[in-house]
């Protein structure tokens, strides 16, 4: 199994969610997040005093998938989240040792 994590622009959430559903993903976790990439944040000015706002609002999506689907799912998320502008975010996957469905106790791929 793999854990796919995507940090994306908040307004792309609906597109990514729909793309994941169309792909057949049954469940996902969404978190409000904040952060910055290479471009950093932005600058605001109050009565001449400049403030650098590093952390910009982001959405973090997490999905557990079977190994075979992971590569394709990365592509799906990237395609749905992309606007082509700076700050589109990142997607990555990491191996997962075990997963358990809390209600039934099923393990591994059955738990997904």
């Amino acid at each position: 199994m793999k854990l796919i994590t995507a940090v994306i622009k908040p307004h792309r959430l609906d597109e990514v969610k729909e793309a994941l559903q169309a792909f057949g993903v049954h469940g996902l976790t969404v978190t409000e997040a904040s952060g910055y990439g290479r471009q950093r944040g932005h600058t605001e000015v109050y009565r001449g005093a400049e403030y650098t706002v590093d952390l910009v609002p982001k959405i973090r999506i997490e999905v557990l998938v079977e190994d075979a689907d992971a590569e394709q799912l990365l592509e799906v998320v990237v395609k749905a989240a992309r606007t082509g502008k700076i700050g589109d975010g990142k997607v990555w996957s990491v191996p997962v040792d075990e997963a358990v469905r809390v209600r039934t106790g099923e393990r591994g791929p059955d738990a997904l």
Binding site: E44, V45, R47, G48, A49, Y51
Partner: protein, 481 residues
């Protein structure tokens, strides 16, 4: 305020229902300025201290109102003693004033004049509080308001507006409070800052305004109330000067907003909301002393000059390293000085008084008088405010503790927080999880286990104490088990 510059013969004045009604409305308008100021300031501070900022203005409505009745009106507008202070026994407690007794040859009752001036006395100390955001004890501030109003505001109001007051006799023009209100408050702010010191993190941490819409609302209401402040200061006399003051107030304020915004655009690249609100207030401050003696064209000039100079002045605190948190010095002191001095250039003569400014053939005489008023009020307020703050600091401490400042003065001073954004933050979500009584999550079956672990404490207390100790869900779970 021009009690001595009368156009009506004192012995012929009769009570005017129209003037009286107008002045009661003007008085109510000036009252609105104090809560308006509270919102103007409140929006500019961080979330953790907005309530304290509101309260520092609001408390003045209570404290100064009572002082005014007890002795303030008497000290400011009672019979003159040595040109420095007033006192009339009839005015103590407002006890000896007849219902239909008229104010000093005007057409309005003494009670109306006393109420109108009361609102000025309430507003002025509140103005100072903007310099002290986030970091002072509420009790120390309240004590400061009482002492400052008594030792600084009441005497200075007498100097400038009271019949026999020495600046008034000198011929200093201060239509509605450039020196008595704005320079007075701005200089006091500077004096207190020297005692109180900087906020923790000044020049290092971002201290962005938490709500610019509140700032805009406050500035808009200030502008609205200022019509009572300025147009009301002719005390309802139906000779048109009040109307000129009204027009000039609007004109200078608009021009000052444009001036500030233009400076900002050139210097920093953006037309900011805070700049528009601040520019408007700077214009209101600057036109206050001048609105009864200049033309609308002169008001445009005064507004633009004040807008640009105040926009430049607010940067001084970073240069010199004093923490005038919300720019009371940069806007009120500088704006007041600019407006008061510009009277010496732009006074047209024949409106409030016959005094003409430099640009209208009056030479340097009026400018000289204005300068004396500016310097004397500035120095008196600065020095006495410093001493008062120092005494309070030695007796009870003016500042809250470092811990309290970091956590927010709202919690420390008022046991409240301004906003509850339930569910949007991680902390809030955790708090919910840890307080089972408030949510549906723990079914009735869980309750006995919690009581067993937490003794007799109610479930919600057990949960929140786990939260307070470390706050992790893991700890909360231990309590459950």
């Amino acid at each position: 305020m021009p009690p001595g510059i009368l156009t009506l013969a004192a012995d012929k004045a009769e009570l005017s229902p129209a003037d009286t009604g107008f002045m009661l409305i003007a008085t109510a308008l000036v009252m609105v300025m104090t809560p308006a100021l509270a919102f103007f300031y409140g929006g500019m501070v961080r979330v953790k201290s907005v309530l304290n900022m509101l309260m520092m203005s609001f408390i003045s409505l209570g404290l100064v109102t009572v002082l005014w009745v007890l002795y303030g009106f008497s000290l400011a507008f009672g019979t003159d003693h040595g040109s420095v202070i007033g006192f009339s026994g009839d005015y103590v407690g407002l006890s000896g004033i007849g219902l239909t007794e008229l104010w000093d040859g005007y057409t309005i009752p003494v009670y109306v004049f006393a109420a109108f001036q009361l609102m000025f006395a309430v507003l002025t100390p509140a103005l100072i509080s903007g310099a002290l955001a986030d970091r002072v004890k509420f009790t120390a501030w309240a004590l400061f308001v009482v002492l400052w109003a008594t030792v600084v505001y009441f005497p200075v109001a007498h100097w400038v507006w009271g019949a026999g007051g020495w600046l008034f006799e000198l011929g200093v023009i201060d239509f509605a409070g450039g020196t008595a209100v704005h320079i007075n408050a701005g200089a006091a702010a500077l004096g207190v800052i020297f005692v109180v010191g900087k906020r923790i993190g000044f020049k290092k941490d971002p201290m962005r305004p938490h709500s610019l819409p509140l700032v805009m609302l406050g500035a808009g209401l200030l502008w609205f109330g200022w019509f009572g402040f300025n147009a009301g200061s002719w005390l309802g006399n139906g000779d048109g000067v009040g109307a000129v003051a009204f027009v000039n107030t609007q004109v200078a304020t608009g021009a000052a907003m444009l001036g500030w915004l233009a400076y900002e655009k050139l210097r920093h690249g953006s037309f900011t909301t805070l700049g528009a609100a601040s520019g408007a207030v700077a214009g209101l401050v600057a036109i206050t002393p001048a609105c009864g003696s200049v033309s609308p064209l002169g008001s445009i000039a005064i507004g633009v000059i004040a807008g640009v100079l105040c926009a430049m002045a607010v940067g001084l605190k970073y240069k010199f390293g004093y923490d005038d948190s919300l720019d009371v010095v940069g806007v009120h002191l500088v704006g007041g000085v600019v407006g008061s001095l510009l009277v010496g250039f732009f006074a047209t003569g024949g409106v409030q008084s016959d005094a003409k400014g430099l640009f209208y053939g009056g030479g340097l005489a009026q400018l000289g008088k204005q300068s004396v008023g500016v310097v004397c009020v500035l120095l008196y307020s600065l020095v006495v405010s410093y001493v008062l703050a120092k005494v309070i600091d030695l007796v009870m401490g003016f500042r809250i503790s470092e811990d309290e400042e970091l956590a927010g003065v709202d919690q420390a001073a008022h046991a409240e927080t301004a906003y509850d954004y339930g569910g949007t933050g991680g902390g809030t979500a955790l708090a919910r999880t840890a307080a089972p009584a408030s949510g549906p999550a723990p079914a009735s079956g869980d309750a006995p286990a919690q009581e067993g672990a937490g003794g007799t404490a109610p479930a919600s207390q057990a949960g929140s104490s786990a939260q307070a100790q470390g706050g992790t869900p893991g700890k909360a779970k231990k309590v459950d088990a």
